[in-house]
Subunit: 195 residues, 2 copies
DNA sequence: ATATAAAAATACATATGTGTCATTTTTGCG
DNA sequence: CGCAAAAATGACACATATGTATTTTTATAT
């Protein structure tokens, strides 16, 4: 496959992403993608064989970009609470950006495909985030910024709250205020009480 | 519409429920329901006009049964922490009962239909649960069982965690141990510290 | 028993989707 | 330029879904 084909592949994936953002996963057909890309039926089948395959490649693309989630903030000599707050704020931004996310499509995809743990990208990301947050809380406790008896439990709790907010954002809707209060609540619970 | 028709209507809804449990929402067709009910195409259209309509009626049926969620436990003269624990245990049971729930279908339905607040059953249920939990926590604080400065925030937090667990159960999978720990964590945070 | 209306089944017209394949177009290179 | 390989096209055969119009069955009152 030549350089040009690689370009076209990428173009298709980027265009398909928009379609998935728009329509979720289950409703998207090869036809939809063909039309969005303005190519021919046969042309698409030359590159991909199903919406499922395309979606998985789109997710792969997406993940590669998102993998350095914390890396920027961790590099600097910021405090644990700085980093955690930054992370929570990032999550908030993501949460409120209802349009232009694959969230819905990703959920739908995983509803349909109960992948084994090893292939479950979502699970890997969740677990990795929990571990990072746990480390962060641990560091914060060390430095006296946080008080927490169970960093692992707390980290999981934070992630479940974020997941809860995410699904609520997609179904019942959440306001920026709701997200703010929730994030503040999470953070406040960690901080050493001033009283 | 005669008594017989009412019976048949009910039969269709109950059978359709099974189909939705099995396949979620988006994938279900009128044909699927026709076949599950072992009736004819035209026959089904005599009673319902779309899968969307059928699903909404199934949800209505479901909600009517679930509406007295707390009522049983509240009647008795149990303590706040008793009631809260009972509720959390109920939720746990529900969470682990992966098969035979409409959870997935409900999410899918709401992905597709961004209903206005007033018609959003899910939102109503969420808000109502938050209010009940808030009251419960308030009562627990009064009676000295709980310590909590922000019952409303805490109640919302509990609900977001439960939603997070629910979506995780459908996508990345949760073990009974995970749910247990999470529930314990929620509860422990509320209880007056013994130290 | 039979006429009648209600209920149910079937067949049909239409629409949309899939995957393939013979054909055409484009591209790169001697 | 000219031609072989690569890329792309669009029509085809097939499958599945929808909603309706017509026919058949069933139940009931006389």
């Amino acid at each position: 496959m030549g350089e040009k084909s690689i370009q076209k592949r990428k173009y298709i994936l980027e265009t398909a992403r928009k379609v998935f953002v728009e329509k979720g996963f289950k409703k998207v057909t090869m036809k939809d993608i063909v039309e969005a890309c303005d190519i021919s039926r046969g042309g698409l089948y030359l590159y991909f064989e199903s919406t499922s395959q395309i979606f998985q490649e789109v997710m792969k693309m997406e993940t590669q970009e998102a993998d350095d989630l914390f890396s920027d903030s961790i590099k600097e000599d910021a405090t644990a609470s700085d980093i955690l707050l930054l992370f929570l704020r990032e999550q908030k931004k993501e949460l409120l950006r209802k349009k232009d996310t694959l969230t819905q499509a990703i959920y739908e995809f995983y509803f349909e495909n109960q992948l084994p743990k090893k292939e479950n990208r979502l699970k890997k990301q969740f677990d990795s985030a929990v571990r990072i947050i746990e480390g962060l809380i641990g560091a914060g406790v060390e430095s006296g910024e946080f008080y927490c008896e169970d960093p692992a439990g707390c980290a999981r709790n934070i992630m479940f709250v974020l997941e809860g907010l995410k699904i609520c954002a997609q179904t019942i809707g959440v306001t920026p205020e709701m997200v703010d209060r929730e994030i503040l609540y999470l953070f406040k619970n960690l901080c050493v009480e001033e009283e």
